[in-house]
């Protein structure tokens, strides 16, 4: 046990300040936003709708001591029924489309959907014209914010989550929410 304590003490505190989506969104403002909107921690359910698992690696990194997601008042939950937001990766495979829709429906309103990665934003290298895939997440469920990147860095992910929080009620046309331009062209 003493070795564990020694290592903890030696490691010290490595958590860094959260990155800002906008300059005004400082860390305490994020806390305040979460508190105002939810009155408790922001609960996120992650759904892999067909990713290559690269995006999941960076989502995992959000929980490490440097980014310390829980310290920002954000936690991952095991059920969509307890979730305020869905963090969805991948081009949607047809085999996952139903599960994704059901997860979305099981998430109580108001809910946020954050599409993570180039694939989730536009189909990525896998495209949108596959016999087995449906492309971007917005083709299957409404999306509020997209986070491009392959995979997006944890910093970009945090910024995406913060951006989604900024205006959770001002979602107009969710289907056009993709901010990513398709760059991968076949030919």
């Amino acid at each position: 046990m003493w070795k564990i304590l020694k290592q903890i003490v030696r490691t010290g505190l490595v958590t860094e300040p959260a990155p800002n989506a906008e300059p005004r969104l400082l860390e305490h403002a994020l806390h305040a936003d979460i508190h105002r909107l939810f009155g408790r921690a922001l609960c996120i359910r992650q759904v892999d709708a067909g990713s290559c698992n690269g995006c999941e690696l960076e989502i995992h990194a959000l929980s490490n001591a440097y980014y310390n997601l829980e310290g920002l008042g954000i936690k991952f939950v095991a059920s969509p029924r307890h979730a305020d937001a869905l963090l969805v990766t991948g081009p949607v495979s047809k085999h996952m489309a139903d599960a994704l829709r059901r997860t979305y429906e099981a998430t109580p309103e108001p809910k946020l959907v954050i599409a993570v990665g180039d694939c989730a934003a536009c189909g990525g290298v896998f495209g949108e014209d596959s016999y087995a895939g449906l492309g971007r997440i917005a083709n299957v469920i409404p999306v509020d914010v997209t986070v491009p990147g392959c995979p997006p860095t944890p910093t970009a992910l945090l910024q995406g989550i913060l951006a989604a929080l900024q205006s959770p009620t001002s979602r107009v046309d969710k289907r056009s929410a993709s901010t990513y331009q398709k760059t991968e062209d076949r030919g």
Binding site: Q46, D48, G54, A65, A132
Partner: protein
């Protein structure tokens, strides 16, 4: 009837891998497999191809591992209803690959399990996506009803089923697990995978070899470097490209960093699943440190597109050397402290030992590969066995454990971290000078080539055929998870359900890599 490997006429393929190729009849294929299986060979991969347009017919490709070299065979059927011998009697892992080959190409393997594997409901039973006359639009119009997958049922007093997935509680990939249990004890596990099937092999068709590299790196993101390397080797074999020594050294550096990142992440995850969240916190920090050094040196945390046909994308700046060497030294020291803690933590060791045992005998019978095989006493590592440069200059591939349990898979990871760190140091202190890439020439048309390398999980293979117009005709990326998923079904038997996450994590297999 008998047939020996030497009765067939083989051709050595150009490139770095020791591969011999032959076209064999379907009867010869079965006899050859019988011969080599009897001599301890393993099945690496099996896939199909529609070559009717080239006047050939349907082709079944089989890759066999004879420890220090590979055999690559092509067998042809001209029937509109192609049938091939069932190899699953000789190589149990062939079963799922054969089922996938049926789903994608309509090949029949006489007498074998004929349940669908990759196909759930995204396309019709009698439509075969990798046949060239397949029309995607025809199958995607009305959504097909979800088919009921015929799981094997266990019956008896007190036995009941627990169904888990495809969406799991944590941040992991989707798949379905059907446990048959009595009380808490697992009698049987049956996996149903294919949820992330996104048509990668079809997507490869028609891409240029450069575009194909990007896709190959995204078959299983956690093994992006290994896939990109295997793919590049296949292209280099088809173009007779000599990769510069500096590029080879940098490739190995990238691959070892991928191995380190995954092993660090897994050691944290395994500790956490055994109740030590301290382990997760510490190892995730070390992994983050490694990724940040990647970002400093290569400009990205994950090095998806660093390995390209002909070489690598980024040269190391002179300033990068001390950064890399210092961070390796720091990591070595930190991992040693954590290993000591893991080794002496009674609670952890109690959970690790005897959990999820895969015996040496079973590992051999099932043809398990990579890290999991080495934890069950099977010495095999393509880096060393196939003498893939630059690994031929290093004394590696000696990591081995006997237990076959979670403890053994943890021990192998610790030892491989030590080995990787040493390889990285060696590569950096003795880095060849010169070019980091050369232009790849024109690809030889219609020939089959393979590339392969030992990724952190196990051997990764890429099979490639390019058409006369320089576009990809067929690419099959092969994940070691194909070979190891079935072993997990065995390793969980007689364990308790609550230990499944721990045992599963100790294998850490790829869903997307096998779902394709």
């Amino acid at each position: 009837m008998q047939l020996n490997e030497s009765d067939l006429s083989w051709r050595s393929l150009p490139g770095t891998l020791p591969v011999r190729h032959a076209v064999v009849s379907r009867e010869q294929l079965l006899l050859l497999c019988r011969d080599v299986a009897g001599r301890g060979a393993r099945l690496v991969s099996l896939w199909g191809e529609d070559r009717r347009a080239a006047g050939v017919g349907y082709v079944l490709v089989v890759v066999l591992d004879l420890t220090s070299r590979l055999l690559l065979t092509e067998s042809i059927s001209r029937s509109p209803n192609p049938g091939f011998p069932d190899l699953s009697q000789l190589f149990p892992s062939a079963g799922r690959m054969q089922r996938a080959t049926h789903d994608l190409l309509g090949f029949n393997f006489l007498g074998a399990d004929a349940r669908p594997w990759l196909r759930h409901s995204a396309w019709a039973k009698d439509a075969y996506p990798l046949r060239h006359d397949f029309v995607a639009a025809a199958v995607s119009a009305p959504p097909l009803p979800t088919e009921i997958y015929p799981f094997v049922r266990v019956e008896g007093d007190g036995a009941h089923e627990i169904a888990v997935g495809p969406v799991h509680a944590g941040t992991i990939e989707p798949g379905h697990f059907r446990f048959s249990v009595v009380g808490e004890k697992v009698l049987r596990l049956e996996q149903q995978l294919g949820y992330t099937h996104k048509g990668i092999e079809k997507r490869f068709e028609g891409l240029s070899v450069q575009q194909g590299s990007k896709l190959a790196a995204r078959v299983s993101g956690d093994s992006a470097v290994a896939y990109a390397w295997a793919y590049a080797m296949a292209v280099e074999s088809l173009t007779d490209t000599q990769v510069p020594a500096r590029a080879l050294a940098l490739r190995a550096l990238l691959l070892e960093r991928e191995r380190l990142a995954n092993h660090l992440g897994d050691l944290g995850g395994i500790g956490n699943d055994a109740g030590l969240s301290f382990g997760l916190a510490q190892f995730s920090r070390l992994k983050e440190d490694l990724l940040r050094v990647n970002a400093t040196v290569w400009g990205a945390r994950y090095l998806f597109d660093e390995i390209l046909p002909g070489g690598v994308a980024t040269d190391l700046a002179p300033t990068a050397l001390p950064i890399l060497l210092d961070s390796l030294a720091a990591m070595a020291a930190e991992v040693a402290v954590l290993q000591d803690i893991y080794d002496n933590h009674a609670g952890l060791q109690d959970r690790f030992h005897g959990a999820g045992v895969l015996s040496a005998k079973l590992a051999r019978q099932l043809g398990v590969v990579g890290l999991a095989a080495r934890a069950s006493g099977q010495a095999q590592d393509w880096r060393a066995a196939l003498e893939i440069p630059p690994y031929d200059g290093f004394a590696i591939g000696s990591v081995l454990a006997e237990g076959g349990d979670v403890a053994a898979r943890v021990a192998v990871r610790f030892d491989e971290i030590a080995e990787s760190l040493q390889v990285c140091r060696g590569l950096l202190t003795d880095l060849p000078s010169g070019e980091i890439s050369v232009a790849v020439g024109k690809t030889r048309a219609d020939e089959l080539a393979v590339g392969g390398i030992e990724g952190w999980r196990g051997p990764i293979l890429v099979g490639l055929r390019v058409a006369a117009d320089g576009r990809i005709a067929r690419c099959h990326p092969h994940d070691p998870s194909w070979l190891n998923w079935p072993a997990l079904e065995h390793a969980i038997i007689d364990n308790i359900v609550p230990d499944f996450p721990l045992i599963n994590k100790s294998f850490n297999l790829s869903y997307s890599g096998q779902d394709l």
